[in-house]
Amino acid sequence: MSVQVLYFARYREAIGQGEEVIELNDDIHTLSDLRQVLLDRGPAWQILADPRLCCSRNQTLCQLDEPITDHDEVAFFPMVTGG
């Protein structure tokens, strides 16, 4: 399956890109599985090990155990600081 993945704020800066489309194997079922794929890419990606990492699926906040399906829009970002 194919998902669009977005990164924001200091994650985006550390990773060096704001979005990408990723093709995932059949053994990837949750955002947690997807995050592990990204962590395995190398040092720049360790920012996603942030214990306070937030994530969303299709523009709704969710937990890492959220399942993902084909064509989802997924995002990883630090805790928000607006207002």
């Binding site: 977005l6 924001f8 704020a9 200091r10 985006r12 306070r52 969303s56 523009q59 709704t60 906040l61 995002a75 970002f77 630090p78 805790m79 928000v80 600081t81 607006g82 207002g83």
Partner: protein, 148 residues
């Protein structure tokens, strides 16, 4: 019920006036957040706000819907700026109209608490000439949890 995500400044007086659009409204509470010139770490030269287009609007719409389910509101207006801002600039405006005052106070307070913890905005400050992403505050999380 509206929310506006924009780079430009907004006219507080005009928005306050537009809120009062019927004679059932007895109370309007507004909140305006401004960029401060100082923080604990020093002088602030500039603030830059990044956001997640699409999700920002969706999460504000959800917070408005939650507020409407909790209180008898007659109007909600939210404006949030993004991009480059300077000390003194207004960042965010929230106004709530209701027949009675406590509902208006509580709903405005609720919207700000949830906006601070659930809406995808991130602040980067330039302090003493260096850029830093602003850290989230545990006190903001605690404030949001009061309402759940």
């Amino acid at each position: 019920m509206t929310s506006h995500i924009q780079t430009g400044a907004f006219d507080i007086g005009q928005r306050m006036q537009a809120m009062h659009n019927n004679h059932d409204i007895g109370a309007i509470v507004s909140f305006v957040g401004h960029v401060r010139g100082q923080c604990a770490e020093g002088e602030i030269n500039e603030l830059f706000l990044e956001h997640y287009p699409g999700m920002t609007e969706a999460s504000l719409a959800q917070i408005e819907a939650d507020a409407l389910a909790k209180w008898p509101l007659l109007g909600v207006d939210i404006v949030h700026r993004y991009g480059a801002l300077k000390p003194g600039d207004a960042i965010v405006f929230v106004a709530v109209a209701s027949p009675h005052r406590q509902a208006a106070f509580d709903a405005a307070n609720f919207i700000m608490d949830l906006l601070k913890t659930q809406v995808p905005f991130w602040k980067r400050e330039k302090r003493n000439g260096q850029a830093h992403w602003v850290e989230s505050r545990d006190s903001d999380l605690a404030a949001a949890q009061r309402w759940s």
